[in-house]
């Protein structure tokens, strides 16, 4: 009996059960990474600045995220009396939810065959997976804009306005930079894009996989830069520039709502790292087509890639000063977007010539 793809029609009970398990596991792992990314960031930046970072809670501060969580949970939840209540309460959720929803289409391994059924190691395989990611990545902005506006404070509003202008500008370049990958893959499904990246490099080099970072290095760099700008990480963290805007859009927030903003920031970081890993670094596939490497399960590779990308983001934060706002805008519109467009045109030309 050839195993068929598990779906709602051929085994509803099993399908729903496995779906729930997958959702819970992916959600749990993401939240765990979010919690420990905060610890990791403090440690990494601490050591880069010749400090130790958190040391007191647990071994080398390992319990710090839990202590922080408990602390934030028991803080008083202040709502400014002049704020617009409903958007003020909704904003932290509206920034975290899009970040977490996006994880649903990231594949984390090959199909498993269990009890005569093929179970994809991915919550759902959309045939417009990449567009789905782009669409929801663009929605995170509502949280920031509303948080800034609803707080009814000048710093918050400035942060929100900066964020919206910045995210709209960089979303464009991010989308265009990914188009080059679609043109090579001829599909929008992340599952198929990963499968294509497992082939031999350019059909010649048999043990190096065909990762798109080798064919599209420019698109990869553009995606990383625009991705960082879109999730408001240093050096593009203008919306929350401490030195001028106190804390930007989340100035007026406290307690768990503030924690939600922080969780969203790290969740976004994971998402950008996961997308970059899936689109350019072969997703869950092994870096070399050698027996020992391919025996290691797919999710280990994916997590390794995500962690190294996140380490790179932290490294950037410890290295670069914040860019000025006019520099940011000029770079987005006059450098990144034309480069991304040129990349698309050149990729199109090459694809036509090769075919």
């Amino acid at each position: 009996m050839t195993p068929e793809m598990l779906s709602l029609s051929n085994s509803p009970g099993l399908f729903v059960g496995i779906m729930l398990v997958k959702i819970l596991v992916v959600f749990g792992v993401t939240m765990l990474i979010v919690a420990y990314a905060t610890w990791c960031e403090r440690k990494v930046i601490g050591h880069m600045q010749t400090r130790l970072g958190p040391m007191r809670t647990g071994w080398h501060g390992l319990l710090q995220p839990i202590a922080d969580g408990i602390k934030l949970f028991f803080k008083e939840d202040l709502v400014p009396s002049e704020s617009t209540k409903v958007p003020f309460l909704l904003a932290p959720m509206m920034i975290l939810v899009p970040a977490l929803i996006t994880v649903a289409v990231i594949p984390f391994g090959p199909d498993l065959s269990v009890g005569g059924f093929l179970i994809p190691q991915q919550i759902t395989d959309l045939n417009v997976g990449v567009l789905y990611i782009l669409a929801f990545a663009g929605l995170g902005i509502y949280g920031i804009v509303l948080a800034g506006w609803a707080s009814n404070s000048k710093y918050s509003l400035l942060g929100g306005v900066r964020a919206s202008a910045q995210m709209i500008s960089y979303e464009l370049a991010a989308g265009v930079s990914i188009i080059a990958v679609f043109m090579l893959a001829e599909t929008l499904s992340l599952r198929e894009i990963v499968a294509l990246q497992q082939q031999d490099l350019w059909g010649i080099c048999s043990f190096v996989p065909n990762w798109y970072i080798f064919t599209q290095p420019l698109a990869f760099c553009l995606f990383i830069v625009t991705g960082l700008a879109e999730i408001n990480r240093t050096p593009f963290d203008m919306p929350e520039a401490e030195s001028e805007l106190v804390s930007g859009f989340c100035t007026e927030y406290s307690s768990m709502k503030y924690a939600l903003f922080f969780m969203a920031e790290y969740a976004n970081m994971i998402v950008i790292a996961a997308i970059a890993a899936t689109l350019f670094l072969g997703g869950w596939s092994a870096p070399l087509n050698i027996g020992i490497f391919t025996m290691i399960p797919g999710f280990v590779w994916l997590l390794l890639k995500i962690f190294s990308m996140m380490f790179f983001f932290m490294w950037l934060r410890a290295t670069f000063p914040r860019v000025r706002y006019d520099q940011l805008m000029r770079m987005g519109w006059k450098v990144l977007l034309p480069l991304a467009l040129a990349n698309v045109v050149i990729t199109g030309l090459v694809v036509v010539i090769v075919q």
Partner: protein
């Protein structure tokens, strides 16, 4: 099951559409509109058009509404003074009801002939929704597509010329 889901989403869509016109604060109206766009995207998914759904969220909810929100925030439009506009309410209500009945009548009158075009749900399933749209846009409707993009370009240039004080 799908029907129940449809009615549920339709209810939300109409509810948030109602919010758009009834909210006092323009920001809340804008949020209502975003929600309506979301419901439309869900309808596209239910019609087996995931590409349209993704584009709907990306373009309308992700870009256009953000710009509208941006403008509302920049202009700092406060809550509108509670004025009651009553003139013409009755006549517009009657007109809308008439239009509704008209539409219902024509929908009920139409008969399904069973004739099928080139693109059926089967071809959409086998070829792919995105591929079909791409092919149609870049072969059959290439000229209108290009004209639309030129129109957009003209609009952008016009906006820049109008907004810029000196070149």
């Amino acid at each position: 099951m799908e029907l129940i889901f449809f009615y549920l989403i339709a209810l939300v869509a109409i509810g948030s559409g109602f919010l758009v016109i009834r909210c006092q604060s323009p920001v809340n109206s804008a949020l209502g509109l975003v929600n309506t766009f979301f419901c439309l995207a869900i309808f596209y998914v239910m019609l087996h058009a995931p590409f349209m759904a993704a584009i709907q969220i990306m373009v309308y909810a992700g870009a256009i509404m953000v710009l509208i929100l941006f403008v509302i925030m920049l202009l700092n439009l406060g809550t509108e003074a509670r004025k009651r506009y009553t003139h013409g309410v009755v006549w517009s209500a009657i007109a809308s009801l008439l239009v509704l009945f008209n539409v219902m009548y024509f929908i009920k009158r139409g008969r399904v002939t069973g004739a099928e075009g080139d693109i059926t749900s089967f071809t959409v399933e086998s070829v792919g929704h995105t591929e079909l749209i791409g092919k149609a846009l870049f072969t059959e409707f290439l000229l209108p597509f290009e004209i639309a993009s030129i129109l957009l370009l003209v609009a952008i240039v016009g906006a820049v010329v109008l907004a810029k004080k000196e070149v």
